[in-house]
Each structure stands twice: as structure tokens, then as C-alpha cells.
Symmetry: C2
Subunit: 314 residues, 2 copies
């Protein structure tokens, strides 16, 4: 069952003691450039540097004490792994994280730094899934999928609750789409709170599986996509796809240049650090492929985790 607005409201209350209420910022030069009034919901300032902490936190604190005692687990090499490890740490329960052995050292260190117990595996989806199955068998832990999970979707939707509380007059909300957890939560929260609000997603041209899935009416998995927006490489899930079909007006693809240019512009003008995946949502406005002139547009800046030694414009 997809989460309801009430589920999202309950999630907001549940995670409130643990998450940052992130600010909504504006940037006049961005407004001028794109010809609209843009409100940036800064999940780059969220704990762990990404919205992912909301969903992970909601999943972890939804467990009964008995369930929680066995810990939580997932396979992930990215922000979700860190988010789950920190959420588990805050509840005082173990987090078992399956990571591919070739994951970046900085990511392994971050997960370990939050107290996550890492099991390494070969870097294939099969190895990740079979290793996770073994971990679950040994521990009895509760698996928290990075996006295809009602609790996670409800948690991600809380960012939009806050955004619309602060800027209720929005005409449009734009979020990036990878696996669709953020987009699902965003679209449920926004369309239930405000009739007629338009939900648009940004997706890299080079990883346009969600765009093609929506066109064709069935999930088309991504095949080895390559994009600078490395948070958006995953394919839609069985839970997220129908939510997106029902509630998202359209998915707009963004070129690699559009992603990088809008990312750099935000760093230069708004003075905030956003990751390429967050810039994909801005890229929808940046490339002017659709007409949103003069509208009030909320954008979920998904995160700010960037390797400062490897910036994409250098």
C-alpha cells in the first residue's frame, strides 16, 4: 500500500527529534536566470548531507522494540547506507550494511564512522542481494530498502510537508528521480496537501529510465547508466512506479552540461554546496525545455555530498 498523507504526517512527528528542519532559501540571480520564483528546500543541510536520512529515520523509529532489537540492514554504497547507520545509532540498535568491496574508501569510512557493521561483497546486484539475505538470516534484522519501502517513502515526503508549510503558494514542485522514493513521497505530500499543484521530476538524459518507464507504462530498468548525477543511477521500484504514474505530471530529462552548469551556478550565486543529483532538479528550469515562466516553484535539493577533489566542471 502506498503511504497516505497521514502516514507522512506521522513520519514527520516520529522523526522530528532527530532530523534537521532544513531551511528554504531563495536566490535572486537564479530567479532572474530561469524566469520564475524558485524556493530551494535545502536537504543538502540535512544530517548525513541528504534527504535520505528522513526515510531511514522513519523506518528505524517505526519498528517495535522487539523488531528493533534485531537491528536493521540494507545493501547500499551511497547516502542511504550512512543514513541508515546513523538512524540505527540514534536508536541504539545495530545496522548491518552490505557494501560492494570496490566502494569508495570515503564511503566505507563514513558508514563505519556512524557505527554501521559492514559486510563486503562482490560488486554485482546478485552478490549484494545474496549477501544481504545471509546477513538477515544470521541476524533477524529488518531490511530497509533505499526507496521501495513505504516507511522510507513516507519519511522522504516530510521534506515537502515542511516546504509547503513555509511556502503554501507554490504552483509546482520539482524533485530529482532515481529509484523514486523522494519523488513518490514528494508527490503524495504535495498533491494531497494542495489540489492542482504540479509535480515535475528531473532525470539525467544519460539515465532516463524513469522517463521511458512513464512513457511506456511499464518499468524499464536502467542498463549501466553513466551520469555525473551518481545518486540517480537506480531504476524505479514496484512501489514507487505506480505512485509516480498517478501523481507526477511529467519527467523532464536534463543534459550532463545542464546538470553541471546549474550545479556550478548554485555554488557561485547561492553559495551552497549541492551534489549533481540535486542540480538535476534545477536543470529542469535551467534548460527551459518546458514553460514554467513566472511560476512559484519549489525544488527539493536532495543533497550536498560531493567529492571536493573531483568537481565536474574541472
Amino acid at each position: 500500500m502506498p503511504p497516505t498523507l497521514d502516514d507522512i504526517r506521522e513520519a514527520a512527528i516520529r522523526i522530528k527529534p532527530y532530523v534537521h528542519r532544513t531551511p528554504v532559501v531563495t536566490c535572486e540571480s537564479l530567479n532572474e536566470y530561469v524566469g520564475a520564483q524558485v524556493f530551494l528546500k535545502c536537504e543538502n543541510f540535512q544530517k548525513v548531507g541528504a534527504f535520505k536520512f528522513r526515510g531511514a529515520c522513519n523506518a528505524v523509529f517505526s519498528l517495535t522494540n522487539e523488531e528493533a532489537a534485531h537491528g536493521v540492514s540494507t545493501h547500499s554504497s551511497g547516502n542511504h547506507a550512512q543514513a541508515l547507520a546513523l538512524a540505527a545509532k540514534l536508536r541504539g540498535i545495530p545496522a548491518y550494511i552490505v557494501m560492494p568491496e570496490n566502494a569508495a574508501q570515503v564511503k566505507k569510512d563514513a558508514v563505519a564512522g556512524y557505527g554501521g557493521q559492514i559486510t563486503f561483497c562482490k560488486p554485482t546486484l546478485e552478490a549484494r542481494e545474496s549477501t544481504l539475505a545471509k546477513v538477515v538470516e544470521n541476524t533477524g534484522s529488518n531490511v530497509v530498502h533505499p526507496y521501495n519501502d513505504e516507511r522510507v517513502i513516507a519519511g522522504q515526503g516530510t521534506a515537502t510537508l515542511e516546504l509547503l508549510e513555509e511556502v503554501p503558494e507554490l504552483d509546482v514542485v520539482i524533485a530529482p528521480v532515481g529509484g523514486g522514493g523522494l519523488l513518490s513521497g514528494t508527490s503524495i505530500a504535495a498533491t494531497e496537501l494542495k489540489k492542482g499543484i504540479r509535480i515535475i521530476a528531473g532525470e539525467p538524459e544519460m539515465a532516463d529510465d524513469a522517463f521511458r518507464s512513464l512513457k511506456s507504462g511499464k518499468i524499464i530498468p536502467a542498463v549501466n547508466p553513466k551520469t555525473v548525477a551518481d545518486g540517480l543511477l537506480t531504476s524505479l521500484g514496484t512501489l514507487t512506479f505506480p505512485i509516480i504514474q498517478q501523481r507526477v505530471e511529467q519527467i523532464v530529462t536534463v543534459s550532463e552540461k545542464g546538470i553541471i552548469d546549474s550545479m556550478k551556478f548554485v555554488w557561485e550565486r547561492a553559495k551552497i554546496v549541492i551534489e549533481p543529483s540535486a542540480a538535476v532538479a534545477i536543470g529542469v528550469l535551467w534548460e527551459h525545455k518546458i514553460d514554467l515562466a513566472g511560476l512559484k516553484i519549489g525544488i527539493i535539493l536532495s543533497g550536498g555530498n560531493v567529492d571536493l577533489a573531483k568537481l565536474p566542471w574541472l
Copy 2:
């Protein structure tokens, strides 16, 4: 006459319609690293990307209509030039900016973009001053010095008014020091508002003229200093020096490595873009040269104007 707290309060009212009230942000990992409770006053989010806009704005809007009609002028190749140009534009009066002909194209473009009328000169202090004198003779414009000017000092102090309004329990305020305009305004506002508050300045080791001036009791000009903190190359002024002597507890020098490492840490963890000069204030805590353990410390992040193609850690 140095500005008083009342001058700073009047400046705050005068510039309020034009400046951003910048946020005060905190960062848990920074607190952990430095062992204190740090409150960052984000002048990197100020218009023009730096606190300089406060002082320029106060100077421009302090003029009588008759004075204002002749415009304002300065020589500067940095943030002050842009700040003065924008402030003048907002008042609808001309800004005459003398810039060295070898100034970076991006800075020339920025000043011109705000409507500043640029006169180029040879890149020497003599040429800058004689060219400015000629401009003033021709235009009757009011010269606004980047720091050795009461109106500018009062304007810069408004950031600290806001900071102490939001976090009245501060034990210490740290600001960077170059020409001393920001430090003067900061120290007047803080020490007048809160008896016993400690004012500490950060200065690059490689441009430590203010440190040496304070030690020796007389202004020692900087001689061709070279530091990554290119906003702090100037020497103290006749107006700023006695204020700093009277109100600043000490100046702490920061190594180039300390500046760069703390700048990178803030980008990575707080997800905000700060310039090296702003990092100098954080560097005071970063290098632990003095003991501020456990205290509540306000830091004026002076600005966020950085060439993203030339980051100092690359």
C-alpha cells in the same frame, strides 16, 4: 571619531530594506572538531556575497540628496567595488570605481554588471590614488574608503547586532582582519552590547601586519603579503587601528594549511561556500593555538566569493 553603538543601530535601520538578514548556522561536526559551540554568521549569503555590502550601503544611504547627486567613488579591485556599485545603483546614483587595469576580468564584469563606471589605472597604489583624485575632481563624488571610514565601519557592525540578537549568550566573537573595517564594527557592536565579551581576530600568518601592529603599538604596513586569503592583504587604517587596540583581545595568526583545511571542512560538512578570508576566522579554532574549549563562539563568515575553477586544495 569612531562610530558608537548608536551609529551602528542607525546603520541597521538605514540599510535594512537593502541587505539580507543573513542566517546564523551551526554544524555539529565542526563543534566536535574544535571542541566548542560555534555559531556561523553567514555573510557569504549577503548580497554581493560578502559583508562589504553592509558598509557600502550605509555610506551610500547616509548621504544627503545633494551629496548623493554627485555619486560615490572608490578604488578597489575586490568585493568593496561591487558592493559600492550595487548600493549606488539601488539609490539611483552613479558609482565611479577606479580599478587596476590588471584586475581579473570576472571582477571588472561584476562591477560593470552592477552599473559601476570603471576608470582603469596602472596597478600601483600611487596610480590608484591619483586616478581617484582626478575622478573626484571631475565628478564631485563622495569617496567611500573600503574600511577607513566611519560609515563603513558602522555598517559592518550591523552583522554583529544581528548575531547577538539571535545568540545573546556568546562568550567570544571572532572575525578576520585585513584593513580592520569588519573587525572594528564587530568589536564596537559586541563590546558595547555585552560587557566582558571577548573579541578575537584571525589573520593569515603570511599577512600578519595587524598582529605585528597590535604588538608594537603602531601601524606596520603589509609589504607584498602573499596568502590564499586575498581579501586580507590590506593594512590597518588610522581609524580602525585605535578601535582594534582598544577592543580586541588578541589577533591569532593562521597558517595557509589551517586556512585551506578549515575552508574545505566547512564546504564538506556545513555545505556552504566560504572564501579563504572567511576561513581564517575558523582557522583560529582549527589550529587550537589558544584555548577556547567549551565556549560559545560567534564567527563572522565574511564572504563566499571564490573562483570555482581554482580551488586552493586542488
